[in-house]
Amino acid sequence: MIAVIDYKAGNLTSVVKALRFLGANDFVVTQSPAAVLSADKIVLPGVGHFRSTRLLEDLGLTQATRESIATGTPFLGICVGLQWLYQGSTEAPETTGLGHFPGQCERFPAAFEGNDLKSPHVGWNSLENIRPDSRLLKNVANGSFVYYTHSWRAPLSVDTAATTLYGGPFTAAIERGNVMGVQFHPEKSAETGLQVLRNFLAL
């Protein structure tokens, strides 16, 4: 059973629709720590403000996720769901993330290399430096386009599985063992996005 965590951060319809399209029928959209603990896979979608992840802590979902991933359950965070895997975000300094990966998410700079940089970063941008050992990005080629919409971004680390360039490189995907996240929206990224979700479902 796949647990899709609902923490009231935007619209889950698209993610659920994509999972169903790929043949995943055994899933539950949930706020229950028990469901997270018993799930075979966990998906944490989310668009919107980092502050909304506070509900995860309040509902006991942070602890349940921590315990579940420690037993090897595959976890996929999408957009704010990826950012939550870090220690926190300057978007909501009082809200702590899971801290599975080090560092803080930060806003795009207002300018880069002397040019104004628009924010949010909206649209199709390419994946670069895809780590050959990434299971999440298997059969995804460097230069493939994915759809983004965000104003905060995650820093690079040794676990970065792919980068994207906008005001310099940021973490497009992260992966260490069973814990994975993507800043882009695989459910809105045409065939490339479906391939990423397919890879996750196949774990």
């Binding site: 951060a9 935007g10 619209n11 319809t13 698209s14 629709k17 994509a18 399209f21 668009v47 919107g48 403000h49 628009k118 924010s119 949010p120 970063h121 909206v122 649209g123 199709w124 941008n125 390419s126 386009f145 759809y147 919409t149 965000h150 360039l165 906008y166 459910e187 809105k188 990224s189 045409a190 065939e191 996005g193 479906l194």
Partner: protein, 259 residues
């Protein structure tokens, strides 16, 4: 590299896609779900469905159309027309839209922008602006005025000021339609698009006047648009998005190719 987006727009009335020239001469162009998928397969970066009648009685039909269209569409999908409240927006999101486009309802009650954004995120709220240059003004572009009711009714609002206010109230994108150029395939209003794009931080989608690949290249390079929307040039086999994007890319604009 971040690419510029080509957005296919489907104007829908009573569950069918139609396209008029300057909002009249309506021609039937087919089934929305079928056309949306054809556009996505053909390389469109995004799909917009606008309910151009947006009558109260038609809402059920629209939501059914949205649901049917969204079921297996995996590119961003925006729905506009007749969204007057956060509840209307919620129904459209629930049917499978990723973003809503609001126009006259945002002018009537600007707080609506923030209300939808509070529940669904700013990225999900597009404020659509129908603009007309103010002829006879010393600055016809700077003084361009916002119109509603399909371009018939002036509001007294200046386009650039309204775009800035919409951003401040939490809009995620601006969809700027030039009523002067809409439907006549003579090119986008690049000067107006540029002025709006420079006034706001959020992406600006240019609309109205697409007739050739050169028009798209111009609105990206000169008009500084982040995306451009067109309906009529796609529907009757003039070209598809992939062919269009190859031409626009050849002019020096980053495009999602292959797609």
């Amino acid at each position: 590299m971040l690419t510029k987006r080509i957005i296919a727009c489907l104007d829908v009335r009573g569950g069918r896609v139609v396209k008029g020239v300057q909002f009249v001469d309506i021609v039937d162009a087919g089934d929305p779900a079928e056309l949306a998928h054809r556009h996505a397969r053909g390389g469109a970066d995004e799909i917009v469905l606008l309910d151009i009648t947006a009558t109260h009685e038609g809402r059920g039909t629209l939501l059914e159309t949205v649901k049917r269209t969204a079921a297996s569409l995996f590119v961003p999908f925006t729905v506009g027309g007749g969204i007057r409240s956060a509840e209307d927006a919620a129904a459209v999101f629930d049917a499978g839209a990723d973003k809503v486009s609001i126009n006259s309802s945002a002018i009537a009650r600007p707080a609506l922008i923030g209300e939808i954004g509070a529940s669904f995120g700013a990225q999900a709220v597009i404020v659509a602006i129908d603009a007309r240059r103010t002829k006879g003004s010393s600055d016809p572009v700077g003084d361009a005025e916002v119109f509603v009711s399909g371009g018939r009714k002036p509001t007294g609002l200046r386009v650039i000021e309204w775009a800035v206010e919409a951003e401040a109230r939490g809009a995620g994108e601006i969809l700027l339609t030039s009523m002067d150029s809409d439907g006549v395939r003579g090119g986008f209003d690049c000067e107006l698009t540029r002025r709006v794009s420079e006034a706001v931080q959020i992406p600006v989608i240019a609309s109205g006047g697409a007739g050739s690949a050169a028009h798209f290249a111009e609105v990206f390079l000169v008009g500084r648009a982040d995306a451009a929307l067109a309906a009529s040039i796609f529907h009757f086999g003039v070209t598809d998005s992939r062919a269009l994007k190859a031409e626009v890319a050849a002019a020096g604009v980053p495009m999602r190719l292959p797609c």
